[in-house]
């Protein structure tokens, strides 16, 4: 009788320890597993509490965020995902100017004091040709870049 009691008490102790241990390890381990699924998304983090994953941080896109949520749901032991993350605002596209007469005038003004360099509109693309020094090539690029005309052809040779 006494022996049976001892065994029962021991079994109870073992089982309680096991349960509490299992639960503690569980959340921490789940957090670590869940965090691994977020390595591709810098600036984000996740914490698992009682099997509930709390996702936070800033994602680059909505698709990234959705993919992360789906991945978290697949982590065994995660019961649900609480989405507290946000998506970074999309930057307005850079306004690129077309090469027109006004732009060409500005480019030619910029080239006025730089002998040997010529600008031409070749089928809608500004094309720079000639030979000059690196210092002058820099002046040309500073002026042309200020006009933001997108892709242009820079064939300047620096001597």
């Amino acid at each position: 009788m006494r022996k049976t009691f001892k065994i029962a008490a021991l079994a109870l102790m073992v089982s309680m320890t096991a349960v509490s241990c299992k639960k503690k390890v569980s959340d921490a381990e789940l957090t670590s597993q869940a965090t691994t699924t977020l390595t591709a998304y810098p600036g984000t983090s996740v914490e698992v509490k009682e099997g509930q994953a709390h996702l936070s941080g800033v994602f680059a896109t909505e698709a990234d965020k959705q993919a992360a949520i789906d991945a978290l749901k697949k982590v065994q032991g995660v019961k649900d995902v609480h989405d507290m993350a946000t998506v970074a605002p999309v930057a307005a596209p850079v306004e690129v100017n077309a090469v027109d007469a006004a732009v060409l005038t500005k480019v030619n003004t910029a080239l006025k004091d730089i002998p040997g360099v010529k600008a031409e509109d070749v089928a809608g693309t500004l094309t720079l040709t000639g030979t000059t020094t690196a210092a002058n090539a820099r002046k040309v690029k500073e002026s042309v870049d200020a006009l933001k005309i997108g892709k242009y052809d820079n064939k300047i040779t620096v001597k």
Partner: protein, 138 residues
């Protein structure tokens, strides 16, 4: 290798130079670095960083539009021509009449930054008009 990686040193130069309204955007194969510099030295540090990567300054996959702006009227500017005098013109155009000249190294006063490429200035002798901004250091 992305353009952001290729030109990381230019971006970090812009950040450490304190360029305001700084934006770094990759679009159609070009990395656009746009912002405002409070003086010529800040702008130059960005371009020097490019020179360390592209010593001929002919790369077209990067577009640096960093302009010295926000200068107050009355700011002192130094004439930075190669050798010749700086023409001061009636209108912001090389076709406009020359109303005065400023020597290399001379200090002039800013009246207003009319545009990115033409600034209205005044010399110590009182000559007032537009000069090409490339030749003015703030």
């Amino acid at each position: 290798m992305s353009l952001q990686d290729k030109y990381a040193s230019v971006v970090s130069a812009a950040q450490s130079a304190g360029i305001s309204d700084l934006s770094v955007q990759e679009q159609d194969g070009i990395l656009y670095i746009t912002g405002k510099a409070s003086n010529s030295a800040s702008k130059d540090s960005v371009w020097n960083a490019l020179g360390a990567i592209d010593s001929s300054y002919t790369a077209t996959d990067i577009n640096i539009d960093v302009q010295v702006s926000g200068l107050a009227a009355g700011a002192s500017l130094t004439v930075a021509t190669n050798e010749s005098n700086l023409n001061i013109r009636q209108e912001p155009s090389t076709d406009a009449a020359v109303v005065g000249k400023a020597a290399k190294g001379e200090t002039v006063t800013l009246v207003e930054q009319s545009s990115d490429d033409w600034w209205k200035i005044k010399t110590a002798d009182g000559e007032e008009g537009y000069a090409y901004a490339r030749y003015l250091k703030a």
